[in-house]
Amino acid sequence: MPTDLSRLRNFCIIAHIDHGKSTLADRLLDLTHAVSERNMRAQYLDKMDLERERGITIKAQAVRLAYAAADGREYVLNLIDTPGHVDFTYEVSRALAACEGAVLLVDAAQGIEAQTLANLYLAVEADLAIIPVINKIDLPAAQPDRVAREIEQVLGVPAEGMLRVSAKTGEGVPELLEALVDRVPAPAGDPGAPARALVFDSLYDSYRGVIAYVRMVDGRLAKDDRVRMMAAGHVSEAEEVGVFAPEAVPTPELAAGEVGYLIPGVKDVRRVRVGDTATTAARPAAKPLPGYREPRPMVYSGLYPIEGDDFPDLRDALDRLRLNDAALVYEPESSTALGFGFRCGFLGLLHMDIVRERLEREFDLALITTAPNVAYRVTLETGETIMVSNPSELPPAGSIQRIEEPYVAAMVLCPADYIGPVMDLCQGRRGELVTMEYLSEERVELRYQLPLAEIIFDFFDQLKSRTRGYASLDYEPSGYREADLVKVDVLLQGEPVDAFSAIVHKDKAYGYGRAMTAKLKRLIPRQLYEVPIQATIGAKVIARETITARRKDVLAKCYGGDVTRKRKLLERQKEGKRRMKQIGRVEVPQEAFVAALRTDEG
């Protein structure tokens, strides 16, 4: 059922978290009757429970809406959902590449936010038709005129005539549907050319294997075609193609301009990567679509099972998650402190949290996660360059010529009143101010060059708390820079604990050392012997604490001959001892590692 190209509109919604994207999507579904009332779940587009709880959209999805327009014709509107987080900029860019138009949805009370702006710039670069929409006009705090001026400033379109809607009440949404038909161009593709389908997302289904979300750019893909993934090089047979209406509905084929899904009969998402181009083996396209990029981890962390016996389960769980998450990379490593685990690379902190939560929730694993770190580019005296993604593996200082760390170009949007606190924060994090621009009288855009390592430690929380939640942040990698970095080790009774080693800027080494030793003094129970805790740079001790020897550990009273209770307490103590990690002579409870490695407390 190839659709007449002139009746197709492919669009997405660019919005900040909580600005009402999912509610607007629900309203569009309502008005086009794509979902019967009975089947309608609130916020249809967010599929995973985790997303529902976090109120964010991780995996892009697409919905096909049949719309009878005012001109009396029926149109097919494909709404492509995009993730709304800085970790997933690349995924956003691919979803945008599948569209001709974008709705810029801005909360009438909040104004435009950094991520929205970043994604808007991506959309403008991708040449999409932008339809600015001011949402939540029903709120008492709504300031649609101010927000309209802000959008005018950013986008260079007149504030007058901007669409104002309430996704909640439905007000203004019919007008938006008309605007989509009028202002989003119909797709221009060559139905007769060799097939080229852009994979803008993929997910893994345990029954069907990989399901690729595709936008047909040229040609056609039909069921039973032999399909080649041009970047991955993998060839397989298309088990099914179809559209989302909104549940998956198989169709005989997908033709140029259409948005739908392809089930290529593949069990591993790494073979069907976001940004790759699907073509047919029989008549392959000469060139893939532009923009494909290998996933690039930005943040690394060691994941270790709390119970050493769970290591094989952790490996299986990661293997299974990878089926669904092409951006997840990991390799086994071992730690003297934590045993066997994996060094994992993530797109960012959110991605890391999601993976960790899924491992704990879906696979019932109890994990210790080492503090997140970035990958350092280390040039040795020999001239050789190595990448170090585990701080404990940094070669000795004497053999290092220089260390470079990844930087990001960060954009902060905040009310003008908070410029001071934001600049203080960025300066404290070794940031370099690049530009400062007023979006309106009240709102400012600050651009900084910042070390990524400084952002992955509670930067966002600090930013939020110093601006009462009004600032927003977006960033993208901007290369490596040399810096004065040192490795701080933490020693328990003279034994280094590799899990606590960190690469930090020289000026911050003392602070890290002091904080870590104090934290461990608090967390490690007293032992039979006095235990010194030291933080060192090379042979130099920069901080020291002492855990005094334990003096009391006895159950006082055997009341009324109740030996059972006493024995059970002692059995538990013995059991607890078995679960302690032994660092030299020091026994460290797992909970102490978990707590010491948490980044959200001091």
Partner: protein, 415 residues
């Protein structure tokens, strides 16, 4: 520890206390047979009787005890007689004679002396008491008057264990005790006058308002009363107590570990100087006055448990009674033991339990006993603990005084 203290100890608890049995027990095991298992001392057989009534509940107490219930006290005493018969019937045709009886609480002396005498008389009749058997009744100072003291003495009580807890009135008030320090001395004098042969004083350290000076003064005043036996317990905060709730609400600090250890050290020093032998973690005694009933617990002797919430041990299985008084009465009146639960220890549990209990005592385990429990007295772990000063020089396994206060750690390492 002073030489004098060591002497006391040797006299007090030299080896398993062996006492005659009435008749020949069919299933009686030799000490060697007991060794091969998990150290059940066949020479000890105690009876614990629980009296779960108190005037008020103390701030630290999570024992099975009830305030009020005046109307149930006499029916309860009567039920104890019935339960004693049921329990002894369960021991077969040739029950062993009792080497100790311990009437604890609660506050047993809230029962009239006649009732207590009847309970003891019934036990004597049903089981018989070994010559020199230890018969202890717990008392709170405010309940001891002349009539009570004389009643206890004439009932054959050999030992009264008094809940003194402190000789600092501020501490006593903070603990929720109803007596003052002066009352303890009066009660001891009254007991002596009535001819009660031995007195124990229970003390608690680490309570609110106590400091190093007040604890030292408490020990001095306790020693001045010349009790034959002293127990000193570190205050433990149990969740289901008033203190537990205050700590949980952040309105009270848990006792500081170092403070408790300092108090313990003071107790060890003061009591050794005063000639008391430190024979168990929390217990000190003059020569010949170590509590045989206490030792029955630590040496895994068998004991019956009578009364609400009482525990008993038959050498293999541990059982405990329902804690509620009405439920207790109902079961006994229906002719049933009011058993609430039981556990049969597997051999590993029994060995671990024997290790934990025996290490509480100054004698610990001799090398053969240790090996029978699966612990090598010459092994690496034992050597580490000796080097750390927690275990004595050997050849067996016995905790030093410092080691006793780290009993849990040592047991977890050896067990």
């Amino acid at each position: 520890m002073t030489a004098g203290a060591v002497d006391n100890r040797e006299q007090a608890v030299a080896g398993p206390v062996r006492l005659p049995h009435r008749g020949t027990e069919p299933g009686a095991r030799s000490p060697q047979a007991a060794l091969a298992g998990s150290l059940v001392d066949p020479g000890l057989f105690g009876v614990y009787v629980h009296v779960p009534f108190c005037l008020t509940r103390c701030q630290y107490c999570d024992f099975v005890t009830y305030t009020g219930m005046e109307g149930l006290r006499r029916p309860y005493a009567a039920a104890l007689l019935e339960e004693a018969a049921l329990a002894v019937a369960g021991l077969g045709a040739e029950p062993p004679v009792a080497t100790s009886v311990f009437v604890g609480g609660g506050t047993p002396t809230l029962l009239p002396p006649d009732d207590l005498a009847r309970v003891l008389g019934r036990l004597r009749q049903l089981l018989g008491l070994a010559p020199g058997a230890e018969v202890t009744v717990e008392a709170n100072p405010e309940t001891v008057d002349e009539a009570m003291a004389e009643g206890l003495a004439s009932a054959g009580v050999t030992r009264v264990s008094m809940g003194a807890q402190s000789f600092d009135d501020r501490v006593l008030a903070a603990l929720g005790r109803v007596h003052d320090a002066g009352r303890v001395g009066q009660a001891v004098a009254t007991l002596r006058a009535a001819g009660v042969p031995a007195v124990n004083l229970d003390l608690i350290y680490g309570g609110p308002g106590e400091d190093a000076g007040s604890w030292a003064a408490t020990l001095e005043r306790a020693v001045a009363l010349e009790p034959e036996h002293l127990s000193a317990y570190a205050l433990t905060i149990e969740p289901a107590t008033k203190f537990g709730r205050l700590v949980a609400a952040g309105r009270m600090a848990e006792p500081d570990e170092d403070d408790l250890a300092d108090r313990y050290d003071t107790a060890c020093a003061v009591l050794a100087d005063a000639g008391y032998g430190h024979y168990e973690v929390s217990n000190w005694a003059r020569a010949g006055h170590a509590s045989r009933h206490n030792l029955t617990y630590w040496r895994r002797g068998r004991y019956l448990g009578l009364g609400a919430g009482a525990h008993e041990f038959d050498g293999a299985t541990r059982r405990w009674n329902v804690p509620g008084v009405p439920q207790y009465l109902e079961a006994v009146h229906a002719g049933r033991r009011p058993t609430d639960g039981e556990e049969r220890l597997d051999p590993g549990q029994a060995r671990f339990e024997a290790l934990a209990l025996r290490l509480r005592t100054v004698d610990g385990l001799d090398p053969e006993e240790a090996r029978a429990l699966g612990v090598d007295p010459d092994g690496q772990e034992a050597a580490n603990l000796r080097a750390a000063g927690l275990l004595g020089p050997g050849p067996g396994l016995a905790l030093t005084e410092r080691g006793m206060f780290l009993h849990g750690e040592v047991v977890a390492r050896l067990g």
